[in-house]
């Protein structure tokens, strides 16, 4: 399989869950170094779509190709991919920095300065040693974004990234996402905030009535 111009290609994806079809015949090409937005009503399957792209969930039919590799055939999970899907998960007894350190120990070697940098980007302080169970929903969301961008991924999947984050926080996140794109990162985000999609995205889609269609 040759290297494609598209970072992500979805070919005729169908997903059934509990005998219900969530979506079908989903085709999507996401160019490298672009930001793509997907919006749609609650329960349309936006999070499921992200799970399928990052290999956590297998499609009922169809093929997912990320950076030229067929997910589930050539690779189990796409390489160098960061993801924030649904509610971010943490170890609540540890601090934000410790949570990131644990992930860093599993993946690529990340030094402490990178953890500090990532926490700064999302507006959290590395010196805050409070365990995460004391964090607000918004702070948890920020840390979820930090998890996703920790290893400077080539593909970033974000599920409603600014949901429950205050407006001051949006600005930091938007600026960073645009910087990432300029560095060559491909970003797919879901959002019901049309302003967000308009500001950030090079292309936008709507997932509705089991179909993915290009937004006008």
């Amino acid at each position: 399989m040759g290297q494609s111009q598209n970072a992500v290609e979805l070919i005729a994806i169908k997903k059934n869950f509990n005998k219900l079809t969530i979506f079908e015949d989903v085709n999507l090409q996401i160019p490298t170094a672009s930001i793509t937005g997907v919006s749609g009503p609650n329960g349309a399957g936006k999070s499921m779509l992200l799970r399928i792209i990052c290999g956590l969930v297998k499609p009922t039919e169809g093929q997912v190709i990320v950076f030229g590799k067929r997910i589930g055939i050539d690779r189990d999970f796409p390489a160098r991919t960061g993801a924030l899907i649904d509610t971010p998960g943490f170890l609540p007894g540890y601090s934000a920095a410790k949570n990131l350190q644990i992930l860093a120990d599993i993946g690529e070697k990340i030094d402490r300065s990178r953890i500090e940098e990532v926490l700064n980007i999302v507006g959290l302080d590395i010196k805050n040693q409070q365990p995460l169970h004391t964090y607000s929903v918004g702070m948890r969301k920020r840390l979820g974004i930090a998890q996703a961008i920790l290893e400077e991924p080539d593909l970033l999947l974000l599920d409603e990234p600014t949901d429950s984050i205050d407006q001051a926080g949006w600005k930091n996140v938007y600026e960073y996402l645009i910087q990432l794109k300029e560095k060559g990162c491909t970003i797919l985000l879901t959002s019901n905030n049309l302003d967000e999609i308009t500001i950030l995205c090079d292309q936008a889609y709507i997932l509705k009535n089991k179909k993915l269609t290009a937004a006008g």
Binding site: R51, C54, G55, L56, V57, K58, R75, D76, F77, A79, T81, A83, I85, D86, T87, P88, G89, F90, L91, P92, G93, N99, I102, L103, D105, I106, G107, H133, Q147, E151
Partner: protein, 280 residues
Amino acid sequence: MNIHGFLKYQFNHFILRWRWILPIPVGLCLGYWAQKVIQSAVSSYAPASQGNALEAFIWAFGKPEIVYFVVSVLWIFLISDLTPEGSFGQQIILRLGSRNTWWMGKVLFVLLSTFTYALVLLTSFFIPVLSKYPFSETWSTASLNSSGINLGYSTMNGSPLQAFWNILIFLIIGWFAIGLLVQIINLIFKQRWFGFLGGIIIIICSMLGTIDGGPIGGNGIASFFLLQNHLEFTPLWVPERVIPEIYSWIFWAVWVLVCLVTGFIISRRTNFYTVKQEEG
């Protein structure tokens, strides 16, 4: 792929938590109970002789009620939520990059947990026992005379040390194998408590099997396939082994192999959704 990092994370997340304190009081209570039983035997049958700490172990861990209803149930509880993965675990999986590596990491962690459990439980058990009796490689006079504490072990199973290792090795292998099965059940049903429930049912059924009594594994070909004939080296009340040891090794090897392969197959097919259960 960093399996070492994965194991370290699992150790911190799944072992360094409050529920893993439980083997300590359980071990201490069992040790105290066993020490009292030995004390009673020593004073009744051989007032002049010394007791043996290993005989206390053989008494406690050769007793089906303790093995099935206490230490094995506790073991299943401790490892019943290693799978399926929560949201944080899914971040780990993405970084591991491979479903096979993830399952291998789980298997190795069940093994690590088994040894940790045995270590914590036995250390706690021997604290009260050793405060009263020393380790000895020979059977005490009390044990040779008291059916209450050895029931023929001294004449049928070599030295106390051999009996100790026989019992411990089969318990550790059995716990590891049952631990893997619990994870498989969890993965199949995508619920953490299903594995716990399945494990408990297996343990209770095994206990019911031993109530029948009789020499261990002595009732036809079916007995070769029964868990209770392999988890315990011999129960105290029937201190003889009709099934040769080699069949127990084969039984557990096949069990572990089937779980290992099934785990690989399931992990290749499974979908990682959000687990509602809170992390931690």
